[in-house]
Amino acid sequence: MRVGIVGVGQTPFGKLSDSSSRELVADAFREALSDAGLARKDISTLIVCSGSQYDRQRSPAGIMAEYVGLNPTPTLHVEAACASSGVGVRVGWSMIQAGLHDTVAVVGFQKMTELDAAEIQDVMSRSGDVMWESPFGPTMPAYYAMHARAHMKRYGTTEEQFALVSVKNHKYGATNPLAMFKKEITVEDVLKSRVVASPLKLLDCCANADGAACVIMAGEKFARKTTDNPVWIAGLGLASSPMSLTGRSEFASFECSVHAVKQAYKMAKVTARDLDVAEVHDSFTSAEIIDYEDLGFCRKGMGGKLIQDEQTSIGGRIPVNVDGGLLAKGHPVGATGASHIISIVKQLRNQAGPNQVPKANVGLAHNIGGIGMYAVCTVLRAT
């Protein structure tokens, strides 16, 4: 049985200091219900997705289900760092396939700007192995910077090529009303921004943000009854890599991405060449270039050339992150996966506005969780 996405909703992403996490979730959920033309009684399960410890509410599924009025509906929390809501969609798909539930609402959220900077930094410095890495004060940029350096060493990728990713994504973010950063930037802006963890500079990095995004899924029969243009989930992939860097053998690639996308392509019976549009994990500019290679958009080491040749812009071989990506949208950790999926859904419904990829029929949404211990892939198709 095919599973389709019948409704989507998302809040703006940014420093939303007038909103609590439950209010953001309610906004996104309500919009998705309205988009699907469904009522709350039609939702069989609420899957709540978020990264841990960015705000003080424990066991968030509990408060979210209550706040949107879904008791006694089943609810649960899915956490896989930045891959949380991508994994939530996988879980929802499985429940529908198993015949356990008819319609599942997956809502990803994160509230990252409420705790003060020192508290958030402490949380983020414990993103890796808390016993053997956290005592050395690694930051999220530090982990990705180490991968960036390995890629530069092996393939000669340059900081200018990394900067092109930020320029492209900010350009597309400028026309996305939900994006945190709506100003275009130049390569020089990126290169002049202050070093955060060498070689990554401020404009090579995504920003912490608040936000929520909701995807409502249903089995084929119900999906076709509900909407004229369900977007079908054609392929899924999920894989893990060692969390600690000492456990890994590859640093110019995220091996979990390679495994996850292989599963998704196989299940969807597609290859990278069949994709019309993609949303990939660009928590850092260097990550997007590595993603191009891991996801099969080009050969290993050719990621820098791919962006330099503008092949990942609209009009190029494979438009990537033309909603602004994490770099321009902001990165509310738990909401990002669903947001990527929503952008692909809009592309496949021909509702992407100024950044529409013409005739988009097959799309990929990809996320890496945290410092590279999870990768989740979803292949979607319009027909």
Partner: protein
Amino acid sequence: MGFEKFGFISFSSQTKVAKFVDYLQDGKIYGTKCKECGRLQFPPRAHCNRCLSSKYEWEELSGDCTLITFTKVEASPAAFKEQSPYVIGLAEFVEGPKVFAWMDKSISEGEVTIGMKLKLKSSKLPNGNLSYTLFRTETEHD
């Protein structure tokens, strides 16, 4: 010594492999070697990564390693501000396993290159805690 004594800031204190810290106090770097399948692990583990056995013995490492990648952290977490900026290196021991640690501040930024030979040594921190640090290897002259 307890594991809370490991690292500039320690976030955990309870582990079966706390003896590691005693070895650091003695100026030595130790890994664990599985008695069932022979796998050598660093950092030390109470369960073999290859066969899951908990029958292991402690084995000293030479500390000799090669730099795989690194980064200089300029924007550090609040708790590490006084130490900042610091260079985190990932290196591979000649014996096989890898290590994630600070590079000693005596190594200048210009000197750091992927592939350089380093020596991991136990280090005592100002707050009385123990850690390990990547140093330049001694040259023949020293």
